[in-house]
């Protein structure tokens, strides 16, 4: 008997019991739908992070003090770590031809005051190229110049959140405000950047890095942010940076270079693991659906004992009966799988319609995997009932009431 014939026979008997078949499929439908949707949400989150971080500049390397265990984020042996200083940044920019800019970044928090209003905020000391590297636009006024940086001028560019909370709708350009103990003149306001990954990028005050050094009374840098000329030079740039700073740090590699791509990769990996765990849990519901199929198939085999006897009496081989029932359970689970795919797509569409900022990306491989898995579940849980049917003695089966 041909495969096509098994499918016809299977469909015949499923069609004879539509309600039961639909309920049986429901388990698989829900399982497949859950697997696909969870993967889609995980994948969507990954893409979302990728896009958000991409808006914060590309081809960026960040050197931080201390050797960080790769991907772990733990500082090891901090006692022997040398600080990164301003000269490190200057020399990197000068010595490596792959490094376009090296920005010494100083970060601290300070009390910002303007007449009655005040705010505790991040103060970030940077040099002028930082604006371009990080894609920070200027809304009103201007960014600070190289001369102002060299001269340690007390000027500042306000993030949108700080500007709004201190000045409201007023134009802040030219006014003096207090940053800690010092007075700073406002020369610009940053374009709105928004919240990225829960962090309000607009809640900052940018000042020349030289001024920040005085403000926080420190020589050590929070990090050195480097812009590499092109993506293909990233590895070369890293090698240069290691060589240069190592020489300055008595041959010790007591610093870490992170690239945005690496951070993305780490985050992507974490999300992947999380997604697979969730999808795995959802896959368990698919297994439960499979048990449902097995249950119904066992009932069906029992109910149709006589039919099995009749088929055997007119010439069906054991393998014919086995294939007929196996096909039936696979059809049940595969049709359920297709239903689950349809449902997941409908739900994904609905979710994006209602909550437009929940990122959902249905991937073809998750659809394929979920479908194949559902078919596999049909085979796996169909074998036992089908074997039971195939092994029935024809005489006993014919006498069954």
């Amino acid at each position: 008997m041909r495969t096509f014939e098994y499918a016809v026979q299977a469909w015949d008997s499923i069609a004879a019991n539509k309600g039961r078949a639909a309920l049986t499929m429901l388990g698989v439908i829900i399982g497949v739908c859950a697997v696909i949707l969870l993967i889609a949400i995980g994948e969507g989150a990954r893409k979302y992070i990728w896009k958000e971080l991409g808006e914060l500049g590309t081809n960026i390397l960040i050197v931080v003090p201390g050797k960080t265990a790769k991907e772990g984020g733990m500082h090891m042996g901090t006692s022997t770590v040398r600080k990164l200083v301003f000269d490190d940044a200057r020399i990197l920019e000068r010595r490596s031809r792959y490094v376009e800019h090296a920005v010494p970044v100083v970060i601290g928090t300070a009390y910002v005051k303007y007449y009655g209003k005040n705010r505790d905020t991040y103060v970030v000391g940077v040099t002028e190229p930082y604006f371009d590297i990080r894609n920070l636009g200027i809304d009103v006024g201007r960014k600070f110049t190289a001369e102002e940086i060299d001269a340690k001028r007390r000027v500042c560019v306000l993030g949108r959140t700080v500007k709004n909370s201190l000045f409201g709708d007023k134009n802040p350009l030219g006014t003096l405000l207090s940053l800690g103990d010092a007075k700073y003149r406002v020369i610009g306001v940053m374009a709105k950047k928004g919240v990225t990954l829960g962090f309000d990028i607009d809640d900052v005050v940018l000042i020349p890095t030289t001024a920040a050094r005085d403000l926080f009374d420190t020589d050590s840098l929070f990090n050195i942010t480097l812009k590499v000329a092109s993506e293909s030079d990233m590895e070369n740039a890293k090698r240069d940076i290691i060589a240069i700073i190592k020489r300055r740090h008595a041959g010790k590699e007591d610093f870490t270079i992170m690239s945005q791509d690496e951070m993305l990769a780490v985050m992507g990996k974490i999300l992947r693991v999380l997604t697979s765990v969730l999808a795995g849990i959802a896959a368990i519901s698919l297994l439960v659906g499979g048990i449902g199929i097995m249950n119904v198939m066992l009932i069906s085999v029992k109910e149709r004992t006589r039919e099995i006897g009749i088929r055997k009496a007119v010439g069906a081989k054991n393998s014919d009966i086995l294939m007929q029932f196996l096909t039936e359970s696979v059809v049940l689970s595969a049709v359920g799988g297709l239903g689950g795919i349809g449902l997941s797509m409908a739900l994904a569409w609905l979710i994006t319609l209602v909550w437009e900022n929940i990122p959902i990306t249905i991937t073809w491989w998750s659809v394929a995997a979920a479908f194949l898995f559902s078919a596999f579940v049909g085979i796996f849980f169909g074998v036992y009932p089908a074997k039971k049917a195939a092994g029935a003695d024809p005489i006993v089966a014919l006498r069954y009431e």
Partner: protein, 221 residues
């Protein structure tokens, strides 16, 4: 055509074993029409199941058309049931959810015949038993006599040379029983060998010869 020698069949093993057939010798020539009679529980159905390759003897030999069936594998038995034997049961044994023509077609789906030919053949078999107008009816929409004729059409569809019938008229009134028996007469006239079990002497008298079984052995042959 059907040659049994010393066929025994027992159910169970050891002390609790029940010997139903206690040494059956039978030789049915091609084209013969045999009726088997005997009291209830004497082993008639058991014997017919063995002849029909639905069951195997515990001991003894059975040759069907020269082939030693007692040695055949399960799949070979299935092929013999499919192509060489047509079985008719007292309880009709039709599949309830299938229309008449699909029931008749059933043996053909286990052959290599393509679907259109199968359907044509099933249809012509239904015509042969006078039921072409009941083509799409399900078994529960047919009378007992009609159901048995569908079952006979199914038994004939693979053009077997041997028809086995276990009390084919047992569940029928005399009128539809007579229809069925005249159908067997026609088939036998065409050269098909028939072995039939019955409790009805009127039915048995249509056969060429009658054998009687009692407690697992033939009384006379």
């Amino acid at each position: 055509m059907v040659v049994l020698k010393g066929v025994k069949k027992s159910y169970g093993t050891g002390d609790g074993a029940l010997e139903v057939l206690k040494g059956i010798d039978l030789d049915v020539k091609a084209g013969q029409y045999i009726a088997i009679m005997g009291p209830s529980g004497s082993g008639k159905s058991t014997l017919l199941h063995i002849i029909g390759c639905l069951d195997r003897p515990t001991s003894g030999t059975y040759h069907l058309g020269g082939l030693d069936v007692s040695q055949a594998a399960m799949d070979e038995l299935a092929e013999i049931r499919n192509g060489k034997i047509g079985f008719v049961f007292q309880q009709f044994n039709l599949i309830a959810r299938m229309p008449a023509w699909k029931n008749v077609e059933l043996p053909l789906i286990y052959t290599a015949m393509p679907p259109p030919e199968r359907k044509a053949l099933a249809t012509s078999m239904l015509r042969r038993v006078g039921l072409s107008h009941r083509y799409a009816h399900r078994p529960n929409e047919l009378s007992g006599g009609e159901q048995q004729r569908v079952a006979i059409a199914r038994a004939l569809v693979n053009s077997p040379r041997l028809i086995l019938a276990d009390e084919p008229t047992g569940n029928l009134d005399s009128r539809s029983g007579a229809d069925v028996i005249s159908l067997f007469d026609e088939l036998n006239a065409e050269g098909i060998t028939i072995i039939l079990i019955t409790h009805d002497t009127g039915v048995a008298e249509k056969a060429h010869s009658i054998v009687t079984i009692r407690d697992g052995v033939f009384l006379r042959s």
